[in-house]
């Protein structure tokens, strides 16, 4: 079950049909999200997935053209994918779909959104609905995020 939470924040998060199919092994083909090595061989029309502990510096140069990058969270409490997403968005300027899959507990999606993720693969509808609620629950945070880089104290300080 796919939830999208657009980074532009104009559209609320929602359950949407998933036009992609994630495959564990290559070869990559249009419409598939393939592992990085397979995708490198035939990237046209395909998405790519990487592990959350991938070295973003080693893969980012290849990824900028991918229509979708999926990051695997191997365990609920493993926050490495958060840093991966944050760096991909803020340091390497990726602006396609950034999707989280793997062990996604709804409560983690609000952190993922702030680190630049905009799509989440949840186990079922109930979890997907819980994720939508989680993303919207806290109205603001103490830190900046990918879509609002300034923390609250700089938003106030830098207003004219």
């Amino acid at each position: 079950m796919l939830v999208k939470a657009p980074q532009n924040r104009l559209d609320p998060p929602a359950i949407v049909p998933d036009s992609w199919t994630l495959v564990e092994e290559g070869p990559a083909r249009p419409g598939l999200i393939a592992p990085f090595e397979a995708w490198l061989e035939s990237p046209d029309g395909a998405g790519v997935w990487v592990a959350g502990d991938a070295e973003v510096e080693e893969v980012e140069a290849h990824l900028s053209e991918a229509p979708v990058i999926a990051v695997r969270f191997p365990a609920f409490a493993d926050g490495r994918g958060l840093t991966f997403g944050k760096l991909l968005r803020t340091r390497y300027g990726y602006d396609g779909e950034l999707r989280a899959f793997g062990e996604i507990v709804p409560d983690l999606t609000e952190y993922m959104v702030r680190c630049g993720f905009d799509a989440f693969v949840l186990a079922n509808r109930r979890q997907a609905e819980a994720a939508i609620a989680c993303i919207q629950r806290m109205s603001d945070h103490y830190q900046g995020s990918v879509r609002q880089p300034l923390p609250p104290y700089r938003r106030v300080a830098e207003q004219p």
């Binding site: 409490a77 493993d78 958060l82 409560d107 952190y111 702030r114 603001d140 103490y142 880089p149 104290y153």
Partner: protein, 586 residues
């Protein structure tokens, strides 16, 4: 004191709703045990040996009278009438019903409190000197920076799901009362040559299974760079800290594996990308936060040195308390008072709801309604007029908070141990009590001088045994409780880790072992030397020989008269202690 803004208040209120929803989903079967465990831990809720334990955040150990009264009420309504002060300046209550925790959070939110990130693999409550803002030896008030770090670390989007827990301590005084050398990050603040605050970063210190003293990786960082540099450290740790083995997951293991030099290179490279970024700390924000910590309306008081001297002459018990529990204040005519929770027979750090209410009232009568919690598990009144000290002392004695033992052997730092904690290998509270009972002669204790005694019930070292001048660690040997003894540890500026004397002892042997250690000290000390200095000078060998010899222990007694002990002991039969015993039996 920091007062919540509308932003902060809304945040904790939304947090209550969030946790209420998480609890509901868990009870309704929507969240697995494993998922809920991670979520409840980030809310300080442990499932313990007997019942749940809830750890309430007391940011950098600072409380208002209103907050302490709210904690007393929560202890009364949800616990058996007492709370436990932790070695990280927080308060823990036992026995709360899992279902009731959202209601407890709502009560806390009413007084600007919460349980956010008091456990779990995330950035924990930042700690500091319990005397911050009032200490005579302070260079920079650490509290505004602690609050800035608290806000920055609360629900950090990137660093709330770390390999392991992460503890930050900040110290701004010449004496390090925050144990910055044994934290994941220890920050020392000082004034630079240009008069601006400068930040030195120690990284990779910690206790637990692999005790390490932190390594200095950055000196003289400017204020505007405080948060970006923290982000750089946390990012390197989040990416490269081990996640395959929880005993090797702390940042100290990463720093050691990489070497401090390589670790610093990675942090510096990351920081180059971050230092001019959006997290840079503007001076306006520091000013905004510092405004919350402005000095209270102190009166112009004369120094009462002469009055105190005559009061001390007349009352030896008061004299002892003045000597050990009263510290110099930054303002003339005021003093800082440490209210020791370490009465014999009471688990170190435990305070009853009645005691909390009493301390809240004293903080208003003898101060500006502020209370601190020290990491030695005592309560502190930071702004007591010197002329009121005798009155406060009498009141404190009546509530069993007048023990004149701050910094002495019986001011035991101790984890809850096997009586409560599911992780413990052995009990720790009965060891503390046995030692307090054996060494009940105040003249002897005073003669021994400052001795940090730290007891942990397991390797996780919540009692900080590695940095006790004397450290005791509970170990499990084929299902039986044994205790390993080390000496020579120190938590302050010249931090060191204790050396283990040898094979572990049974619980019954421990008081005699301590006695033998102290005998060697008293025989071998030079004039004016404290225990730690003697150990450092003569090494552990003489202690080892005595402790493992067959000869019976001979306590070397002080020749001074025993007037103080009688007075303090009489406090042991107060209504508080009786009430506590009843509560515990229930």
């Amino acid at each position: 004191m920091y007062q919540y803004t509308a932003f902060d208040q809304r945040f904790v209120e939304e947090r209550v709703q969030q946790y209420r929803d998480q609890t509901r989903r868990f009870l309704g079967g929507e969240l697995s045990d494993e998922a809920f465990q991670q979520l409840r831990l980030r809310n300080g809720l442990y499932i313990q040996r007997l019942a749940p334990m809830l750890r309430i955040a007391v940011p950098y150990g600072t409380l208002t009278a209103t907050q302490l009264r709210a904690l007393a009420a929560i202890a009364r309504d949800f616990d058996k009438g007492y709370g436990h002060l932790s070695t990280r300046q927080n308060m823990q209550i036992n026995w709360p019903e899992l279902e009731a925790v959202p209601d407890i959070l709502a009560r806390l939110a009413e007084v600007q409190m919460h349980c956010i990130q008091t456990s779990g693999s995330c950035i924990r409550n930042v700690t500091t000197d319990q005397f911050a803002g009032v200490a005579a030896d302070e260079t920079v008030d650490a509290r505004p920076y602690c609050e800035i770090i608290r806000q920055w670390s609360t629900y950090h989007p990137e660093f709330d799901w770390l390999p392991r827990k992460f503890k930050i301590a900040v110290n701004g005084a010449r004496t390090d009362r925050a144990a910055t050398h044994v934290h994941d990050i220890g920050i020392q603040i000082r004034l630079g040559e240009d008069g601006t605050p400068r930040f030195d970063f120690l990284v990779g210190g910690g206790l637990g299974r692999t005790p390490v003293v932190g390594k200095l990786i950055r000196e003289g960082l400017a204020e505007k760079d405080l948060l970006t540099y923290l982000e750089a450290i946390l990012r390197v740790y989040n990416r490269y800290g081990r996640r395959d083995n929880k005993y090797k997951a702390r940042i100290k293991i990463l720093v050691r594996a990489l070497t401090p030099e390589k670790f610093r290179e990675l942090v510096d490279a990351e920081w180059e990308n971050l230092r001019d970024g959006p997290t840079q700390l503007p001076g306006s924000e520091v000013i905004r936060i510092r405004d919350h910590f402005k000095a209270p309306p102190y009166e112009k008081l004369p120094d009462e040195g002469a009055l105190l001297a005559s009061q001390r002459l007349r009352n030896p018990a008061f004299n002892a308390w003045m000597q050990h529990n009263v510290s110099p204040h930054i303002r003339p005519g005021y003093a800082i008072v440490t209210l020791s929770t370490k009465a014999t027979g009471v688990p170190p750090g435990d305070v009853t709801d009645e005691q909390m209410d009493a301390v809240a009232a004293w903080s208003e009568r003898f101060g500006f309604g502020e209370i601190r919690i020290s990491h030695e598990q005592n309560l502190v009144l930071p702004d007591v007029p010197q002329r009121e000290l005798t009155t406060l002392f009498d009141l404190a004695c009546n509530e069993m908070l007048g023990q004149a033992n701050a910094g002495l052997l019986t001011d035991v730092v101790c984890c809850p141990g096997g009586d409560f904690c599911a992780l413990a290998n052995a009990k720790s509270i009965p060891i503390a009590e046995a030692i307090q009972r054996r060494f009940d002669d105040y003249d002897y204790l005073h003669d021994l001088g400052p001795i940090d005694l730290n007891i942990s019930g397991c390797m996780n070292a919540c009692g900080h045994h590695h940095v006790g001048h004397i450290g005791i660690l509970g170990v499990d040997k084929r299902g039986e409780e044994f205790y390993q003894v080390s000496i020579g540890g120190n938590q302050a500026d010249d931090a060191s880790l204790g050396q283990i004397l040898g094979p572990a002892f049974s619980r019954a042997e421990i008081p005699s072992v301590i006695e033998r250690i102290l005998d060697v000290f008293v025989e071998r000390r030079d004039d004016g030397e404290i225990f730690l200095q003697t150990v450092r000078r003569i090494g552990v060998e003489p202690f080892k020989q005595r402790v493992y010899s067959d000869a019976p222990a001979v306590r070397v007694r002080s020749s001074r008269p025993k007037t103080v002990a009688t007075r303090i002991r009489s406090a042991g039969t107060s209504p508080v202690s009786r009430a506590r015993k009843t509560a515990r039996a229930g």
